[in-house]
Symmetry: C2
Subunit: 335 residues, 2 copies
């Protein structure tokens, strides 16, 4: 029987699509292009589809605009960008869409650009059955690029902030009937979680801190990506591209202390997704310096030599060397 | 009553969206970004939606891939690009979409990149109700940029090739019952028209010819755009952005000689759209040199000083100064 996209899933589809690009081109969150001056331009395209990435019940138009910009800008930060050039936006919507909704979306996009720099460069618009934003972000790398494959055995794994809050925010916005969440509405934790989901913050500040605290004799070499697909997926991606096995410390999971009391906390921390933090693989002295410099930044594990090529990309718990298993609840955008 | 996008139409919507961008940013087919070396990078995003821009009845997957690339690359050529850097592609499709369809699309994209240069830089994919491609193209300007607003009174208007064939191709593919088309299937004209519609050719060769035949004392100044929205719309856009009135010569319409015998020929030439030729406003000596150099390139009219600011952007017939009226059959992607 003919294979359908739903049978493949998003990550297998992207893996196959890489065959049409130069070798290694699809390994990272975004594309790196070297300008004549040697400066590196980063280009990233993300598509946000109604019913998959957003819905009227979880966010208003200006939150959607912010989020569309922020998700893209996070991919720039994940490549080591310090300077945002701007965005192009492809807008698709049914003809019955009210103009004020578009105003809200563009206000949100502009608000994010106002915060992080750059401008609206251009775009296209068209009628379609479903609301959709296709955003391309451009920016310039600072001192050096961050790449998934630049981790090495012995590197420490660093998370620039807690994970799982965005997933909690989504659960609250979707009025998830899970009894663990029954007492949350109205609390500070709930407000923080909803804000994390609706207004993610690309971590350009973490890139700046990373540059500032590089040990003097340390050449630039930073493995990493953002955690938009979930912390575990990010660690696995770095381990795979770097040809290593990753160890995660059970006691060092980057959990928000209030979130940690909830039953699904560990699962959401590992697999919730859309936290848009950076996950980095750094030589130990640099990793420790970054954690001292950047509030909320923590050591979560390490990369080690894979015992066998077949074990590259595995993520194990550091205490008992058991695999950190996915619950199967990860993003499957074609599922 | 609340305004809806269908009430606005695509061009009014784009005009309003420009308010969120720096002044003038939306005036051209694509965005120009100056690199440190002074070289100009061009960035363009186009969205192609099933049922609006394509359907299984009018083109197969590889034609769609070619067309998606070619339409974007045409916007690069329309800005004066000589070198294609590459494309990012956002792919949206229902989960039931067969994988071989995706293979066809990417083969078509790669075929166009193989012809015109550049590579697949990256992309994103997601499930959605409707098939859709959001393509961002990047390239570098050669000797100088081409801009809609760089025309001046006295410039000659040049078309790099005939117009209307793509529209005829669409009519044939849609099995338009117009009796004027009854005898066409199987003819050479029909084959050419279908090829024009399915495999448009971005005119990088015309940019090269333009550079080659610039008169020695002539500084770089080229008004222009591509004719993706139709010849009349292109001329009106150049006239509007350049603050001029445009004159078109009735006897000099860029009509394919075989197409000219068909009843709707003039209307399709003016408003058919998707021919992806370049329409340029050039100082007379340069315009004439280009027409001598480039086969199929013809003088079609001129820009003149608008008698009154309210007449900027008007397109008149050169013989009787009557307005070249639109039939109302132009593209309205939200209609």
């Amino acid at each position: 029987m003919e294979e359908r996209l739903a049978d493949l899933g998003e990550s297998e589809l992207l893996r196959r699509l890489a065959a049409w690009a130069p070798a290694g081109q699809f390994d990272d969150d975004a594309a790196l292009l070297e300008e004549r001056s040697g400066r590196l331009l980063v280009v990233n395209t993300d598509v946000l589809v109604e019913g998959v990435h957003f819905s009227d019940s979880t966010m208003g138009a200006s939150d959607l605009g912010w989020r569309a910009a922020a998700a893209n800008l996070s991919d720039l930060a994940a490549m080591g960008c310090r300077e945002v050039v701007g965005l192009t936006v492809g807008l698709v919507a049914p003809g019955a869409t009210p103009w004020p909704w578009v105003v809200g979306v563009y206000d949100g996009l502009a608000e994010a650009l106002g915060r992080y720099g750059g401008s609206l460069l251009g775009g296209d618009c068209c009628r379609g059955e479903q609301r959709l934003l296709a955003v391309t972000a451009l920016g310039h790398v600072g001192e050096g690029p961050i790449r998934r494959g630049d981790g090495r055995p012995g590197d420490r794994l660093v998370s620039t902030g807690p994970h799982g809050l965005s997933r909690l925010g989504l659960a609250l916005l979707q009025q998830d009937p899970d009894p663990a969440l029954a007492d949350l509405p109205g609390t500070g934790l709930a407000a923080r979680a909803v804000a994390c989901h609706r207004r993610p913050q690309p971590r350009f500040d973490a890139v700046a801190a990373l540059e500032d605290c590089r040990p003097p004799a340390q050449p630039w070499r930073v493995g990493g990506c953002d955690s938009s697909d979930g912390l575990l997926a990010s660690v696995a991606a770095i381990a795979t591209s770097s040809g290593c096995t990753a160890l995660l410390e059970r006691q060092q999971l980057p959990l928000d202390s209030e979130l940690a009391r909830l039953d699904p906390a560990v699962r959401w921390c590992l697999e919730g997704g859309e936290d848009f933090e950076l996950v980095l693989a750094l030589p130990p002295a640099w990793a420790e310096a970054l954690c001292r410099r950047l509030p909320g930044c923590t050591l979560i594990g390490a990369l080690q030599t894979a015992e066998h090529p077949s074990r590259r990309g595995e993520v194990l718990w550091g205490d008992d060397q058991n695999p950190v298993r996915a619950s199967g609840a990860q993003f499957h955008h074609f599922g």
